[in-house]
Structure formats: structure tokens, C-alpha cells
Amino acid sequence: MTNFEMDRRKFISTATSAAGGMMLGFHIPAAANAAAIMDEPWMAGEGGQEVNAWLVIDPDNSVTIRVGQSEMGEGVFTGMPMLVAEELQCDWSSVKAVYAEANRNARQTAEPYMVAAGAAKETDGVYQRMSTGGSGAVRRSRLYLSQAGASARERLKQAAANAWGVERSAVSAENGMLSSGSNSSTFGEFAGAAAAISLESEPAIKTPDQYTLLGKSVARLDTPLKVNGAAVYGIDTQVPGMVYAAVEVSPVPGGRLASYDFDAVKDRPGIIAAYRLGEGGIGSLNYNLDEVANRVTGIQSGVAVIADSYYRALTALQLMPKQWDAGEHGNVSDSSIIDSALEVLANPDDSTFNPADSVGDARGVIADASSVLEATYVTPYLEHACMEPMNCTAHVTPDRADIWVGTQNPPRALSVAAEEAGLPEEKVYVHNAFLGTGFGRRLRQDEVRQAAAIAKAHGEPVKVIWTREETTRQGKFRPYSTYHFAASIDADGKPEAYWNRIVSHSIFNHQLPQYLQEGIDGQAVEGLDERLPYHFPNKQVDYAIRDSHLPVHWWRSVGASQNAFAIESFIDELAHAAGADPLEFRLSLMPEDSEFRRPLEVAAKEAGWTADLRRGEGMGIGLAEAFGTISAQVAYVTVSRRGQLRVETIDVAVDCGNVIHPKLVEMQMESSVVFGLTAALYGEIHIRNGVVVDDNFDQYQMLRINEMPEVRTHFALSGGDKWGGVGEPAVPPVAPAVTNAIFAATGKRIRRLPIRNHDLTG
């Protein structure tokens, strides 16, 4: 294929990891060892003494901290090590980060002392929680990572105390040094002895007032690798002997590849093989909408072409004659799906509605009211559009499987690959890479099953890459949702009764039906049921499920991503109907002790909230709680007479309780605004004849730098025991803040996203 010498020569070696298990690795050039993070982030360094599963101390006193969460931009390769280092009291500048191994997590349970200390409560595995989602990295790993650091520190002190013949309390541990009187030594010197020590009781972890590292915006450890192309993402995996696969599966989910003619392309240069995927072909679990397991990761019917380069595989795949059988969903369109949901929504007596919340007699009060405000809202299907197209590299042999992938859930990738390879979990190794974003998409593992099946059939290591188009068509979509609201308005504008019906495609019904509670998908009604920030004397919330043939999945901020648009817009409508200021009106519907007040007031104050603006200018409010964090936002927009919208600024107030790295939080706020604004302005997946048509960035548009508003983050922290997530909660308020601002500027109320479908000319 080529006749050059690879400048970065690598070879597979079998080395004994610090964990004592065999691991497959690459030789690392010496220079990379000096970096805080290896460009291949699954690679542990060599040597060093493991004190516990999370940390290894080298003789040179550098500390390698293992990270169980996935680095997809949110900063866990910096934040997670900080949690350990705060307690360990090592020298932060000597900290390196590396991924924790899913294989070890499958083989080893949590340390008994971690369990006894009450710190290991997430799972049985030694690394506790290795899934990255639900904005949970800090709030759900904090206890066990802090404990791991504190327990190691005390063991180091005890080891030194034993050697020096003093009490542990007489030894101090600071900045990577142990000292007592005239004795002084590095952590590294006592790491071996510390690993063998057991303590009578484990130390308590620090309270936030004792932090010296947490709370500081230290430089991200991964940045130097991300400015020179060195960071290795799943798609960059290079394994000796590797071949490439291009795949195409039924463009209609659940459809079938009727026939294909490999003979027509097999003599093209570099072409090696083709495999039928799914039904009648390779794979142990075929896609099938009727069975839960099959629809989550089951292999869609299609074909893979293998070649010595990706482009050769792709070209042959595209040229190869193929016939598809669309199956029973070949006539479905996005409007047919949403129109039938709207029919259900319009019929309050439809028997499939179940109550999600009920207080007083909302239906009765509304029926008797002299004035009722009603509105219907619609949000579309969306795709994650991860920056890195879907891919997975796999090598499956009869007694071992290796998977290289950027995944949000390595243990799940491991179990899916084990199932597909027909191997026990301890023989499967997942080498997690950097992720070119995740947004929930990379929790699913459908690409892992497909790649494992192809690699098993082929025998050699195979890198499977989906084109952007394939990535979008085989998306696992944010569901559509439809909402109807009705509220009675009394003489002084107060809403006495509130009735909300919701009809949506349910993620729980699609993949975790056991989580449905009496017909209610708790995520689909997030923020609308008893979690609604606003109080109404009479309230009724009803929910009905209407699924389609599209696979649906968690998408950054999940149900809140769309529910906030509906409720925050309707509240705005109520305020205007009452002739009230939208800020005052919201506050008037909140209990005095509501946690929503402060973030809302901070955002309004910092934005210079006013309803008194010229035509063509407007401010709008959005508010939501998700993953334990409240975010309030005020958008300021301008709309020209010709309908040109510009989102000028968004003030974000956030209450996530406590903060370990303010700059990472600010980044997440900005990132969430861009994500939410992209969806609000442009996001909509169209389906024609059962197929997703907006399959690349020419049609599925993304926000670009020239449209970037100024984002100002304001901390409205309540402190205490509150530890909320930050990766997702600022997405939901963006859309309503902007559409409410558009209403203020133009008098046009947007009730169906995206905004680009609306004519704003005035």
C-alpha cells in the first residue's frame, strides 16, 4: 500500500501492567512519557508503584492518576485527577492522567476499605462508575476519588511513621513530600511500603473550606496534545496489520439489504472482502424493533466492505450494486409521525394518557373559567452530530478481543464486545480513546457490536468508520415531543389552574421499559411534573407515549432539552396575557424558598433585565433544572426589519452548588449555549420515506463562529452539600430565552422549533 517508513514506529507488545494483568499496549516513544497525558490516553506508563487502583507513584515522585470517566471535552482528565490530588497532597505539577482500565474493572471489585468508608457506593467494580453521562463526573465520583486520595495519603504517612519511629499524626504530607522533624522524604520513596499498609479506620475527606487545589482554574492537562494533532481519537487508531471497513446499513431503520453484488467491485485495487451484516449475515444479535435488546445495539441489516485503505473500501461500497427492502416503515415521514402525535394531543380523553402529576381539579377549573389561554408546542427529532464520525477498531481472536474506541461507557462497550466475540469479559480489553464529543451518543455501543462482529468474521484487526452521512442516518435520535398547555386566568391575571398534556417518543419505552412508572417516562416529563418551578393551585400533567421506527437515545440534557422550551415559552405567554413583566410573573409563581429564585434574579440583574426596549430588540428568559443544577438565562437579541435575527448576548446564572474548577464550568456554560442555540436555530431531523435526509452539515446546520453570542457566566452558588452537574444543565434554557426574546422584539411567538422555519420579517 505504501512504501514509506512510518515515523512513529509502534509495535504491539505484551506487557505486565501495574495492575498485575496482561495488557496489550504500544511502545511509547520516550518523549511522550514526559507529557501529563499520553497521546494514546489508554496507555499507562511503565514502572511506578500502585498505592491503590487510582494512583501510581513513580520513583521520581510523579503521580499517575487513573480516570474512570471519558474525556470528550468536558475536562475530566483535569477535574478527576484534581479530586484525587486535593486529598493526596501531591505536587499538582507532577500529576499525569491516564484512563482506568475497563478490563480490570470487570475482574476486580472495589477495595473493601473503600466500601467500609462509605465511598464506594456506585457499582461493585473497582473503578466504581465508568460511564460518563448524566452530568455526573464530579457529583458521582467525588466521594470515592477523594477517599482514594485521602486513604493513600494516610498510608504514605503511616509508612513514613513506621520507618521513622514516630506517630502518624507527627508526619505531614505536603506537595509530594513527607516530613517529620528532621526527617523528610518524597512520596515516591514510601509508595511501596504504603501500598502494603492497612489502616484501622479510613480518614475523613475534606470539606470545601479546606480545599487548596479544588476551586482553582488550573490549566487543562490535555491541552498541549490538542494543539498539534497528537491526541489520539478512536478514529486515529493504528494497529499493525489493520484493514479498513466501510459500512452501509439499511437507510430505513429496520429495513433490509435485499441483495448486493460484491463481484462487481471485488477486483478494484485493495479490496479484500465483503460481509453481509445482520439478518442472514454476521453478528449474534440482529436489529429488530420488537425486542428491546435487539433495538438498542442489534446489528442493522447491511454490508461491510474491507480494503487496505478506508477510501478504497468506501469507494467500492458506494459503487457496489445494492438493493434495499425498506420494510414496513418505508412511507414514514417526520410530519406523519408528529401529526399523529398532535392528533393524540388534541384529544384529552385519549385512553393512553397517564397522569404524571395532579393537584386539585385543573380540568374542572379550566372548564368553568371565563378566560383560558391555550397553546401547543412542538420540538423535533435531533441527531447528536458528534464532531468525530462514528468508528470503532476491533481485533477478535479465539481467546482475546481488543476494542479501540472513544466511548462514554467502557464497561458497556466491553460487555457488548464480549457478547459479540463469544468471550468472557475478562478476555476483552477496551482501549478508550479521546472522544471527538459524545453528547450521549457514545453511550449506545451499536458501533462496538458492529465492529466486533466484522472483526470476528475477518480475523484481522479492522477499523470501521461510518461516513458522516451514515453516522447521521444511523443516529440514535433525541425524541420529538409535543405539548399542549391550558391555563385559566382570573381577573387579576393569576393562573388558578394549569393543565399540560405531553405526547412524545419515549426513550425509556425504547430501551429501558422497566424504568417506566405507570406509563410515565420520567425523563420525558422532566421539569414538567412535580419538578415544575412554578406553583399553580390546580395542576394536571398527562403523558402519552407515541413511538416511531427511529431509535431514540439520550441527547445532551435529555428531556429537559425540549421541555424547557415549551414550559418557559408558555409561562411567557401567560405573563403577557396577564400584562405582567415576565421576570416578576415568574417570581410570583414561585414559593418564597424556591431554589430557582436566586439564579433567576442573578441572571436578570447581570443582564440588565428590562422589558422596555425598542422594536427589534428583545430580552427573554429561560430557566431549567437538570442533573441537580439550576440554570437561568437571559438572552438579548436583535431582529432587523428584514427578519435577520442576531443573538447578541446570553447571561447564564448557574447554581451547581459547589465548583471544583471555575473555568471548566464556564467552558461548559458556553459550550451548552452553543449546543442549545444550534438546536434552537437550526436543529431538525427530516424523515422522508423512512430515511433521515439531513445527513451532513450542508443540511444539518451547526452554529458557526460568526453567529456566536457573547456568553457571560455568573455563579449563583448555594454551596452546602449541593453538587450539581455542569455538562448539560445549561442547554435547556437557551431555546426559550431566545424565542421569548424574539417575541419581545417582534411580537412573534415561536411554538415550534427550529427558529429558522419562521418568518421574522416585521
Partner: protein, 153 residues
Amino acid sequence: MAFDLNVNGASYTVDAEPETPLLWVIRDSIGLTGTKYGCGIAKCGACTVHIDGKKTFSCTTKVSAAVGKEITTIEGLSEDNSHPLQIAWIEEDVPQCGYCQSGQIMAAAALLEQNPNPSDLNIDTAMSDNICRCGTYSRIRKAIHRAADIAQG
């Protein structure tokens, strides 16, 4: 077919069909994976390289069209993260997931070549071919200004 390419000052002979996008030749044949695939249709900028100093989408450039030209990828920007843009990118902590950043930096480098002191508007115009799904745009702007300052001493 064999093609002789000059990438980051080194010579490579690669075997590929003439219409093969330069992107895949750089990544798969030459093994330089800093240049990323995002869309394949010139709509995201992840694959941005320089050809004879000009910003180019490698996903829509045929390998045959790159013969005899000087191709620069992110790996060729500096040996040691010392390019003013790399320094500024680190100082501003620009990247999040980082996947788009090779393309962003190469686009910014082409901009600074042409306009050593760009305004926000110049930056927005020059950088709007590049999608960042993480939304690092405000730091990209800041870092380009900062790099311009560094370059001018």
C-alpha cells in the same frame, strides 16, 4: 498509481487512485492523523491543511492535485508547540474535545499569514468554515488576537 507528495517537508510516495481525497492519503497512507475527517464535503473544516501556504480542505482535494506542492498539516506547524497560535491556544485553554482544533489552528494560521492583525470581523469571516461542536468559538477569537500579539512581539 504512485504519487510523490511533499508533506511537512518530507517526501512520501503513496499508492492511491488519482481521485482519492488527500485527507485519506495523509491519514491512512502517510499516518499523520492530526488532520481529521468531519464531513467529507467541505462543510466543517476539520480536514484543513495548507497547500503552498493556502488554506485547503483536504477532504475535497484529490491527491493528484497535490503533487509537486508543499503540503503542511498540523504536525508540520512546529516541532514543539512553539507556533504563536499553539502558544496562544494553550494560554487560552481553547480546546475542549479537541477534534476540530487541528482544522481551526490551520485555518487561523492561514489567516495570520494574510492578515497579521485581524479584527473580530476578519476572524469571523475567515473562521466560519470551521465547525466546533464544543462551542469554543469565543476562546478561538481571543487566542487568534493573542497569537497576533505574540507574533508581533
